[in-house]
Amino acid sequence: MKSTVFRWAAAPAAITLAAGLAACGGQSEQATPGGSGTAAALSGEILIDGSSTVAPLSSAAGELFKEKNGQVNVSVQTSGTGGGFKKFCAGQTDISNASRPIKAEEKAQCTAAGVEYQEIIVANDALSVVAHKDNTFLQCLTTAELKTLWAKGATGTVTSWKQVNASFPDAPIKLYGPGTDSGTFDYFTEAINGKAGDSRTDFSPSEDDNTIVKGVAGDVNALGYFGLSYLEENASTIKAVKVDGGKGCVEPTIETAQTGSYSPLGRPLFIYVAKKAAAKPAVKAFVSFYVDNDDAITKAAKFVPLNPEQKTKAIAEVKALG
């Protein structure tokens, strides 16, 4: 009796295995459009991995693309910008989300594995420095003050707000930030401290930005940083601290990030497309769709759309895919 059970269990498993293998083989063959000649001929799976910051953007693009091309499945994973590049350069994914440009050593990995790619700019983000809603003295910080606050040497020594600016009260500093694996951390430390990854170590790190929101919202003397969408969604408990990059205090908003006046913490977001994957019509069509419908996609994912100049650049980058 037991053996019958096993036989029944094995049969569907074998069938699904065979079907799965067949489907896998089929995807690459479907590159040539069918005789029908309609857009509905596109099919297959597009595998995207990388930055969790960019993931909502690529998800929104995938969802809107699927409305028109029901046979194309866009799947998104979040291994982080660095983790995404690792898989991308091993040829395991079609597109890699990135919240910072590719690093030299990652480039070398891709080259060594023979993975050719094209960088495409897809949106802007404003790395927002935030404080508690009721905090009165944190209105605007210069980049120099931010550096005093976050520099590697500040670990254990800069502990009172008075040390950052003499006009601030003698209140204890409590800092929250993204974990060291995130592209956001790399970008912030590079923009403020001059070297990616260079940061004081005595802050509360979290891979989940909602944890940073809760931390800052719970302490009137706390400060943290993350992407603009988390600020917009939590405007009732936290506020933005304006940043002075040499041209006066600028608040992080969609406009300031789009025009580039929120400097140096306004950042572009990218996708990296493998040229081999782009040879598939579905991937090519998806990437074109991504750039062409940038306004709708960024709006849906609560990001900052490209400005006209960036859009021209993005269209040229899509063309360069061949």
């Binding site: 799976e45 595998l47 993931a55 909502p56 998104v76 979040t78």
Partner: protein, 313 residues
């Protein structure tokens, strides 16, 4: 150290009655007899630690239910996740993904685990160095963190050439994760079958193989089933190894085979709860309720099996 394990089996059974009686007596002493300060204080401490656990759990559950229950409708079960409309996001793909992964996990872990346990318990010589080494390793493996199994599987499937973020890879990781537990619980279930049953079978002329297949194993099935279901409920709640393998956080199609990409409930909950939009966090609470109901259903099945078919020898 050639301890005959079988010989030590019966005494623990007999002892169990004794150990059960002892705490009852102690408790009675604390609540009626021993009214000195130390024992009353200790009792209060015990109650406090119990209350702490229960209160924290209750607060978490109530909070989740208040948040997620209004969101839990048929759309939550039948539609795919949505980035553009968070209010309409559903957990269809993760629910199906969890079901697929757990089924494949069980299909791999149960035969291998039960087979290994039967060998170790019924066939292997208790004194052989090999059996002892396997036993030691199984016990150690049970304590290895889940993420390690994810890393191991990632290396394995990439080498073999299986798609890394496929249902098959996920199931391999989870099967490896629960295998030690399945082996240990199966061995315990086999050990609880009285030696007399085996001896009776052998005395009537059955071979060792026939004895195991027709007497020992069927008698141990309730215990094995309970252990398997409980370890599967552990596997269904795992996110870390699957995330490492590349479980999808955004997927808009049903899993359609062993090599298909997938999401599971814990992965989707993890992703939704880290989103800025409140609508996603509410969806996460609703998905948590679904996962809780699934877990309770599985545990209930385990309890029913145990109570229905428990035999006393």
């Amino acid at each position: 150290m050639s301890v005959d394990t079988r010989a030590t089996i019966d005494p623990p059974d007999a002892l169990e009655g004794g150990t059960e009686a002892t705490p009852a007596v102690t408790l009675r002493a604390a609540s009626h007899g021993d009214r000195n300060f130390t024992s009353m204080g200790f009792l209060v401490l015990l109650w406090l630690s119990l209350a702490f656990g229960i209160v924290v759990l209750a607060v978490l559950l109530v909070d989740t239910f208040i948040d997620g229950l209004p969101r839990l409708d048929s759309r939550m079960l039948t539609s795919y996740t949505s980035q553009v409309f968070p209010d309409r996001a559903g957990a269809r793909a993760p629910i199906l993904g969890s079901a697929f992964v757990i089924t494949v996990t069980a299909a791999m872990a149960v035969p291998i685990g039960v087979g290994a346990a039967v060998y170790l318990e019924e066939f292997a010589s208790k004194t052989s160095a090999f059996a002892r080494m396997v036993e030691l390793n199984v016990q150690n493996l049970a304590a290895v963190p889940a993420i390690i199994y994810g890393m191991l599987t990632a290396g394995l499937v990439v080498t073999v050439g299986i798609r890394r973020n496929s249902i098959l890879s996920g199931a391999i990781a989870l099967a490896l994760l629960i295998l030690p537990v399945v082996i240990v619980t199966t061995r315990e279930a086999l050990r609880a079958v009285p030696t007399e049953i085996r001896q009776g079978s052998l005395a009537l002329g059955a071979t060792q193989m026939q004895t195991v297949a027709r007497q020992t194993l069927p008698a141990a099935i309730p215990g094995i089933a309970t252990g398997v279901i409980l370890s599967l409920s552990r596997a269904i709640g795992e996110a870390a190894p699957l995330l490492l393998l590349g479980g999808l956080v955004f997927v808009q199609y049903d899993p359609n085979g062993l090599l298909s990409g997938f999401s599971t409930l814990p992965i989707q909950i993890y992703d939704w709860s880290s989103r800025p939009q409140v609508a996603f966090q509410t969806a996460a609470s609703a998905a948590i309720i679904i996962l809780l109901v699934l877990l309770m259903a599985m545990n209930a099945v385990a309890i029913v099996i145990r109570n229905r078919s428990q035999r006393r020898w």
